[in-house]
Symmetry: C2
Subunit: 157 residues, 2 copies
Amino acid sequence: MAKIFKFGPHLIPETQIFYKSPYCLGLVNLKPVVTGHVLVVTKRLAARFNDLTPEEATDMILSTQKISSVIEKHYKASSLTFTIQDGPEAGQTVPHVHMHIIPRRKDDYENNDDIYEDLDENKQRQHNIPMGADNEDRKPRSAADMAEEADRLRLLF
Amino acid sequence: MAKIFKFGPHLIPETQIFYKSPYCLGLVNLKPVVTGHVLVVTKRLAARFNDLTPEEATDMILSTQKISSVIEKHYKASSLTFTIQDGPEAGQTVPHVHMHIIPRRKDDYENNDDIYEDLDENKQRQHNIPMGADNEDRKPRSAADMAEEADRLRLLF
């Protein structure tokens, strides 16, 4: 029987999980801002970063190192953006601590930090992103697409 | 005799350091994007996040918890933005791993994620930020200003 993980109010099937550590999971993204944009989330539902126990926080950062190292190579990137939007005033839309790992390449965004706008579901502003669509227009990926990426990444750990 | 810490190519005097752990330092900012925007940096010069040893990465995240908890209360914020710009294609301008901790409040930025633009020294775009000036126009703070903030924060640890 497939296990289901809860990411805030969202149900995440095993097929979208590519990494597991004692306290964290690595998830592929329904609406990645670029290909290879993944999340590190705590297994336990904690809303804010400072709700994490030292064990959870430590596991999250060490998982972030392992995952980001694989992601940078696998997606042939040259830099990485890490961010935690911690609380609604920081753009957090899912009230469950999650670290964004985003592989970056030269000229992936016209303005380097426009990438952050795409992390905000409420963002309306238009700009050019690699997928040629702003956040509002990005279509959620299919379950098959997400499972394929997770299967591929799972082999790298 | 005052000790000097090297943050990438920059010399940081003790007066700008408000927090010390085994592997990291908490620094006040020359050009904060909002009041209370501080940095957690590794004592050792490491350019990329994945150059950090597990001990350094762990110390950085636990220091980030301690510092951000104090910053959020002290600056009466309700959320926090955490980000590491890891490599030039992610907007990193000082090649020395550093975590940005930014206290956030409702309506501090017209568009929530515009704050990231101000993290990029090369950003030219105009928008409204709380200080009423875009990044290019922000003047570096005085040494006295930075020392005063660091003195105030140091007492909270």
